[in-house]
């Protein structure tokens, strides 16, 4: 028999009804807190990911928000995510199977967001050069017509083929003791 049956409620002592009301309010509060934490965790990852998409216009305010969230995402998703787990633990014994499934699904999205907030998925598309190697120009197999970017510091001259830089985009280098960032 359901605990919320009117017939049963009529025979319950007042303190029992109060306890149930308080329990329901606590449960609602925990659900709200759980939802907010989950929302915060997911937003910290998904809003920047949505705004900073290739081949999409980035409006100045949206970009500012995306950078602000992404900057805080590693710590923010961890704190909000941990809070999510605490609230989920508190809810777990009080909810039925369907709500357990909902909680589990939410936690999976939360975990995904926590992980993704720590990963630079742009470097999955365009891998960085971990350790740049150089060859003497006489040994290079580049076609003479290939375009390169070039810098010179004193007698130290370096060429960066654009076909390679158009993929890697960024290279940290030191030429003639000068640290430079080569970008394309």
């Amino acid at each position: 028999m359901s605990a919320s049956s009117p017939a049963t409620q009529q025979h319950q002592p007042p303190e029992e009804t109060d306890r149930q009301t308080t329990g329901r309010q606590a449960s609602r509060w925990i659900w709200t807190a759980f939802a907010l934490c989950a929302l915060a965790t997911v937003a910290l990852f998904f809003i920047p990911a949505f705004v900073i998409r290739p081949f999409r216009h980035q409006a100045p305010r949206a970009l500012w928000l995306a950078m602000a969230l992404r900057q805080r995402a590693p710590l923010g998703t961890l704190i909000a995510g941990l809070a999510c787990f605490l609230f989920a633990f508190a809810l777990w014994r009080t909810v039925g199977l369907w709500r357990k499934a909902l909680v589990t699904l939410t936690l999976l999205v939360v975990i995904f967001s926590i992980v993704m907030a720590r990963l630079n998925y742009f470097e999955w598309m365009f891998h960085p050069i971990a350790s740049a190697q150089f060859v003497a120009q006489a040994e290079s197999k580049l076609d003479p017509k290939e375009m390169i970017m070039a810098v010179r510091f004193g007698t130290d001259a370096r060429a960066y083929p654009i076909s390679q830089m158009a993929y890697h985009h960024v290279l940290n280098d030191v030429v003639g003791d000068v640290p430079i960032a080569v970008t394309y």
Partner: protein
């Protein structure tokens, strides 16, 4: 930055100009401007290093002991030998209707004391060497002996404004479009001293021999990108 070495990595994109972050502070930097747009170093700007965009053939004649970035073996399949036409096909997300140029038109962009000017590549390549004045500064823009490399110089010799023109035989061949290889007889002449100048901007013979023109930083860019970061830019027309 202020004596601190920063290391950068790709972090995102802002209207098709990429964003990078530095590992040391986490600040966000815009590629084209070198300025920190967010984070602890917001407002700071990296010092622009003078660089060239040349053909490998041109560069190796100038840098016999130079070093070339080696391809990373596991990514060689990712390198696109047709990067230029392939990038040109990509859609754009910002446009500036009402201007004489199309979004993907290639320009040479430069800034002199805050005044920006874009030189449409096609116009420049046809007219090279281009003599112009931006904010009162005389400029010389030159297409290289290979017909692909370019450089920009301050068009002054010993503090006096100077005019340059391409030695006639080099110009004739450049206009026929047969200059894809590096020409050894390519020379500029200045109208004042009649000295010969090479593509590095140095006089190799004549009264000015041994002197070199000052370089002006310039960027080869798509019009939409240049215009997006230089709202007041003018466009070279002649």
């Amino acid at each position: 930055m202020n004596g601190r070495v920063l290391h950068f990595y790709l972090a995102g994109i802002n209207n098709q100009n990429f964003l990078m972050r530095d590992k040391e502070t986490g600040s966000w930097w815009q590629q084209i401007t070198g300025k920190a747009v967010y984070g602890p170093l917001q407002g700071a700007a990296l010092e622009l290093v003078l660089s060239d965009e040349l053909t490998f053939g041109q560069w190796r004649t100038e840098s016999p002991f130079g070093q070339v970035l080696a391809p990373v073996a596991k990514y060689t399949k990712e390198y696109d030998p047709n990067w230029e036409p392939d990038i040109a096909k990509l859609p754009v997300v910002i446009s500036f209707p009402g201007t004489a140029l199309k979004s993907r038109d290639v320009v040479i962009g430069l800034t002199i004391d805050g005044a920006a000017r874009a030189y449409p590549w096609e116009t420049f390549a046809k007219q090279s060497p281009v003599l112009d004045r931006v904010n009162g500064t005389p400029l010389l823009l030159v297409l290289g002996p290979d017909g692909k490399s370019f450089r920009v110089f301050l068009s002054r010799i010993d503090g006096h404004d100077a005019e340059f023109f391409l030695q006639s035989n080099a110009k004739a061949e450049a206009q026929t479009g047969k200059s894809s290889d590096v020409r050894k007889d390519w020379m500029l002449l200045d109208a004042t001293t009649h000295s010969q100048w090479n593509f590095q901007g140095c006089a190799t013979s004549g009264p000015a021999q041994g002197k070199c023109l000052a370089r002006i930083p310039a960027l080869k860019d798509y019009w939409f990108d240049w215009r997006n970061y230089h709202h007041q830019t003018t466009i070279y027309k002649r």
